[in-house]
Chain length 338, copies 2
């Protein structure tokens, strides 16, 4: 398996490459392997998420634990760096004192990079929330459509001539139109934000890595200034003459960090508009549902999605415009119950 | 400061470069900035360490916390990777399902690298323990010498003609010889192991970084297979045709990991023997203390130090040989009380 190919020293190599190509859990077994974090208000809250956004809700929470781990690692590194420097001073050995202090400076910067990484994962996590929020907002639209179809089927069986049937079918047509928009927003937002979130997370992984490589290489240069030729009892060590060189290494490290620039293969987004729908000027759509809209211009907006709402008009064309502060409910009225 | 120069987005840049060049705590303030971990048996145990090994004892404990943080991060990454894959499957979108699963594979491998990093830090930590153990074993030698000097001074003042004075002075000469060896072992072990431990830690930082860069770059390639061009409501997405390309990217990632080789500036050690003393064949030493040894060949061994003990003979030459199972105490008898 890929994830096992090179990571643990004692691990046996597996020749079966194909097993590497998916990490999907074998149906409902994944939760047992996830680290447990005990009860908390926020983990109970996950159970009241709509079905559609439950998985991502939990994933976003797990990212939070990951972020905490990196923050803690960064803090611990800083503490260790200071301790190393203090220990070095206490040895009363000029060479060890200077080298340990400067190795400590580099270690603390490595720790700062862990902290920056934690913040960058947090930014990526915020992007995933846009998907989760859209999922959350699409659920009532699906529910409403399903509920109307269910009601119509029941009524047709019981009272096929009921006047209410016409009303319900009008409502269904509107609900289907609304749901078509919602589903389009969902696929658009999901693909855009998934790409964006993980492109950012991979970019920050590369940033941490490239900066820590520079720091660690300078760290090894520093260690080479420490003469560890054994002395015989009673002999004195040669005096330490590398203070300036050591200082120069720190200056080099600082310059390298300042000069660092990301060098990444681009992950371009094909997105047209932030709402998750292309602009109406470029695209017109005709769907059975939209064509059979009977009433005069029912306006459907999905405010939780993004800065722009989308409008379904009776002509079947989609226009996007600024969010209107007032909310125009559909006649069915249930599609916005969250 | 170097450690602040580039790490936090919101941080102000400091023009004072010199402040960057040390992280030494301003005398006894360091403990307040260290993360707290509550009371535990092992943290109380630190208080009964000899003074000489106290700082390193605590540092080694802090490294343990750091290791735990990386282990936890690795586990959380694996959990997130599986969750991402499961979520992708639940979207019923072939493209998202395939890309999320394969991004998950790469993320889980990034997690495995965190775990490997934790293990490598643990190896480096074990090397630091050799310094701490030597520090611990040198403390009684220092104490014994100081105690004898103190006794002699007191006796000289009280009974300058005491016959015991001659005995004590003989003991002091032996203790000084023993201490000279102990201090030489301490400086040799300290420099060698400090270099070795942090050369290893920097090397593993570079290993994690280089491998994660490869994985993250392949991750961004994967994301580019996801078409996020917005669709209009009612339109179908183009079918997903990149399954083979995605699989190839994972194969490339696996090959890259397999082909990875460390490429490091060497940190050579000047060490002669593992005991921390150069071999007797190459070095002879004459010291006032060793020259005035009067008894016949008192044997001093420092078993906690390493696989080889050192022997001080009456001729004043140091030979190293295998540890003898029997322990030959000096006449003073107190130098081995730990």
């Amino acid at each position: 398996m890929l994830r096992r190919s090179d990571s643990r020293k004692s691990r046996e190599k597996s020749g079966d490459r194909n097993r590497a190509l998916s990490i999907r859990s074998n149906k409902k077994e994944s939760s047992s392997s996830a680290p447990r974090h005990g009860f908390s208000i926020s983990s109970l809250r996950g159970t009241v998420q709509p079905e559609l956004s439950k998985k991502l809700y939990k994933l976003i929470k797990s990212e939070n634990h990951l972020i905490s781990n990196y923050e803690a690692a960064g803090k611990e590194r800083l503490s260790i760096a200071t301790q190393l420097s203090d220990w070095g001073e206490s040895t009363n050995d000029d060479a060890i004192s200077d080298i340990s202090d400067k190795v400590g400076v580099l270690l603390s910067e490595i720790g700062e990079q862990e902290d920056l990484y934690a913040h960058n994962i947090d930014d990526s996590r915020a992007i995933l929330k846009a998907i989760r929020n859209t999922e959350k907002s699409v659920q009532p639209s699906r529910d409403n459509k399903a509920k109307l179809m269910d009601e119509i089927a029941k009524l047709k069986a019981k009272e096929p001539q009921s006047a209410k049937l016409v009303i319900l079918e009008q409502e269904l047509v509107r609900a289907e139109a609304e749901n078509l928009v919602a589903e389009a927003q969902l696929t658009n937002i999901t693909r855009q934000k998934l790409k964006e979130a993980y492109a950012a997370e991979f970019a920050s992984t590369i940033e941490r890595a490239e900066k820590q490589i520079m720091l660690a290489r300078h760290g090894r240069r520093l260690l080479n200034l420490l003469d560890d030729t054994p002395v015989v009892p009673g002999d004195q060590r040669n005096p330490y003459h590398h203070a300036n060189e050591a200082r120069q290494i720190l200056n080099d490290a600082e310059d390298d960090l300042k000069d660092w620039q990301p060098d990444l293969e681009e992950v371009p987004s094909g997105r047209g508009v932030e709402s998750g729908l292309p602009s109406a000027e470029q695209h017109r759509y005709q769907t059975p549902a939209a064509e059979s809209v009977t009433g005069g211009g029912s306006v459907i907006q999905h405010e939780p999605v993004a800065a722009e709402g989308s409008r379904v008009s009776s002509g079947g064309s989609v226009t996007t415009g600024p969010v209107e502060p007032s909310y125009a409910p559909s006649e069915a009225g249930t599609s916005q119950v969250v």
